[in-house]
Symmetry: C2
Subunit: 450 residues, 2 copies
């Protein structure tokens, strides 16, 4: 629960292992919550991990594989023979078992599946694409025919001993196994034993489809405050369920992705703990792209070299115009990207939004342009310089608001991620327009600036 | 569920109201899911809202107030007299009722509370600060003494008829009402009737404290995949509960806050639907701050005006150095801010992280500096210009990686939000250092640049 507890356990485990007391080390490890246990296990060196792994019981090994990061889980799974691995996978939540199998070499995965008793729960999950409802769901759920009584439903629950990952709902099916209702355990527990569940179930069920984008499902669950959502196939049959914890992971992942992409970090799985080599390999293409656009903006300025040679102080203010344009655009961009992520913009509002951000940029430009223009007049003692700078700021901030909204909305309309490359595109525009505007105005007013 | 359904209902409601068929309008509205109903209601004009409101039954009115945005809920609540309002508040989830009361004028809130039957559930919630566990929790939960049998617990559930917001857990108390365990309804429903619940409860409970920051609670619930977490007071007594849907809201809010703050939008409640006046009032202070820092960076350049007058093409490349520094720093900044938000950095790793980002900036600087330097040599035919630009890029990107990590970590160490003002601080440094570095190097190499 708190980091120091994990540190303490780690110290005990290491001491015990050094003294050759493997069982004491195992006890210290398994005393932790499974989530913390995986953290502690990851922090051990390979030798210590190898000493502990064979001595963990089936349940603890399954917990560990469920909680470790995907790559590490696969590495641990590789150390088992097919039979051991099959036993561990049988003990795991089906969706977690499917994830491990997906990360193993195909041959090893097949061998393990062949030995598994519960392969039937895991196999269907292997066919769905990542980032779809099918790829996110698990098959631990309980479905009952609508004619069932409350007592019979409770008997079903007793018999199947649902795993802790199973949601607190029963899904009610018709004769063709199609989903027709949902019943919370709360309603079940307070019902009289002979109540037919179709009389107490909720017939309006909010569900997801296997092929649906996980982000859409996450938005729906957040909107309707659902703890779990059933996933149906083309026939209308429940084939899985997505629970609040999976959706929380999706929401956090998507937020990370947006924050990263707005900052030109393309890979949401990159973290500050990634090796430097990997960090650079992922980040450098976007820096090269930025360099290319910066050189384009530089080329815009280079067309005015003669002017700058004559009035060198113009060079001082170029970055002010570009920078404030960039800032204005970034504000709009962030608000639009976030609104799109939360499903708050529909097509009808898109144009109104672009217009509104343009107006906001314009008004902000007038306010900021006035103050900056006056300041520069005072500083450099040249009212025309102040005026030129002020007008350039108004123009560039108008463009900035407009482009900051237009770019992400256009990317979305093209079916692309609105956050991807938005920043680069937008700042290229605000830089180039800012430079060109300020220098063109300066050229026109040259006789007053000299 | 899908936006067109809400549109359809809205059309039906408006037609019915025009024809004076208020009941038909009410029916169309209440056919919708309560969440969609609130959306539809918000889209109606005031006249239509006023026509519908008095005809909604108590339950529908309570649902509506729960789902409307805070401000609008308060506006609707203001239209009722104290007695009506008290009835509606009694019907609402206690935490939602507390939110409405908090948004009403103090006098109106007191009058309504005085009339409420369930004021006892709501009153304790009014004392907790926003953004704490106490401020987020609701008082709908069920606690039972540890000596209770399964059958008695089910009787309790029958008697209290828990509202839909009540979590699917029972909290188990000792003689002093202190939390000693937790029991899922699943375990309850499959237990034999005379089982004492202390024998089937889970004694290791993950909980929150009333005064704790809601962000910490959200991280804990996400970490341990909890659907609900009990909130205890100083005595160890459960006084409320936080459920997965509240935490989902917190996670989304915090992500919005980080995305906004990195983009210098200070208010996470600002949206693209806020009035332009409000948007400008909130966004303009940060644009003025950016203007001030941009003018500072401009002052740095102004110290080199003589140099630029002599070698005007230097002005062309100033923004390349500053821009790439800014981009590198933004990448580091985004990754650190996100890692801090997800609780992934502790104090021990802070210095290592700063060092690592510095090294990443340095290596990226060498890679980008080489390519840009060579390109500019080719473009301008001056190898020394290429060299000066390349070296300035290496230096500025090293500083950028370092500062991009140092600023958010320092803000956090000072107890401030690591995302707040980070961008402004960081780009001020990368702009100023970039300008100064490039122009100083140019001055040193002047004889080769002329």
């Amino acid at each position: 629960m708190d980091p120091s507890q994990i540190e303490l356990a780690l110290a005990r485990i290491r001491t015990a292992l050094e003294a050759g007391e493997v069982q004491a080390a195992i006890d210290s490890l398994t005393d932790l919550h499974p989530v913390d246990r995986a953290d502690a296990f990851s922090d051990l060196d390979q030798k210590d991990q190898a000493a502990l792994l064979p001595r963990l019981d089936l349940k603890a090994t399954a917990d560990l594989l469920e909680q470790l990061e995907d790559e590490q889980a696969a590495a641990v799974a590789e150390t088992f023979d097919s039979e051991q691995l099959a036993d561990v996978l049988d003990e795991m939540e089906p969706d977690e078992a499917a994830d491990v199998l997906g990360d193993l070499p195909a041959k090893r995965a097949e061998e393990a599946l062949a030995e598994m008793e519960e392969a039937g729960n895991v196999l269907p999950l292997l066919h769905f694409a990542d980032k779809t409802a099918g790829g996110l769901m698990t098959t631990s759920f309980i479905a009952v025919p609508k004619g069932t009584t409350a007592l019979e439903a409770i008997e079903v629950l007793r018999r199947v001993e649902p795993s802790p990952g199973t949601p607190y709902y029963l899904y009610v099916e018709d004769e063709a196994a199609r989903l027709v209702g949902i019943l919370g355990l709360r309603e079940l527990v307070i019902a009289t034993p002979d109540t037919r569940i179709e009389t107490i179930m909720e017939p309006e069920v909010i569900f997801a489809h296997t092929e649906e984008d996980q982000e859409q499902v996450a938005l729906r669950m957040a909107r309707y405050d659902l703890a779990a959502v059933p996933v149906i196939d083309d026939r209308g049959v429940v084939v899985g369920v997505i629970t609040h914890d999976d959706v929380m992971d999706v929401v956090e992942e998507e937020a990370t992705e947006d924050i990263y992409r707005l900052a030109n970090v393309p890979d949401p799985y990159l973290s500050i703990y990634s090796p430097i080599r990997l960090a650079i390999r992922k980040r450098i293409p976007w820096l090269y792209l930025s360099a290319a656009t910066a050189l384009f903006a530089a080329w815009v300025i280079s067309n005015f070299e003669v002017l700058i040679a004559e009035v060198a102080f113009l060079a001082v203010f170029l970055s002010v115009v570009a920078g404030l344009g960039g800032n204005t655009a970034t504000q709009s961009l962030a608000m639009i990207v976030r609104a799109l992520a939360l499903g708050e913009i529909d097509r009808r509002h898109a144009w109104r939004t672009v217009l509104k951000e343009g107006v906001t940029g314009l008004v902000a430009g007038v306010l900021v342009g006035t103050v900056v223009g006056l300041s520069v007049w005072l500083w450099k003692g040249n009212p025309v310089l102040g005026l030129v700078l002020g007008v350039a700021l108004v123009g560039n901030m108008l463009v900035a608001g407009f482009v900051g909204a237009l770019v992400p909305l256009s990317l979305r309309a093209l079916g692309l991620d609105p956050a991807l490359a938005s920043s680069v595109l937008v700042t290229t525009v605000t830089d180039s327009v800012g430079f060109a505007l300020f220098l063109t105005l300066s050229a026109l007013a040259l006789s007053y600036l000299r």
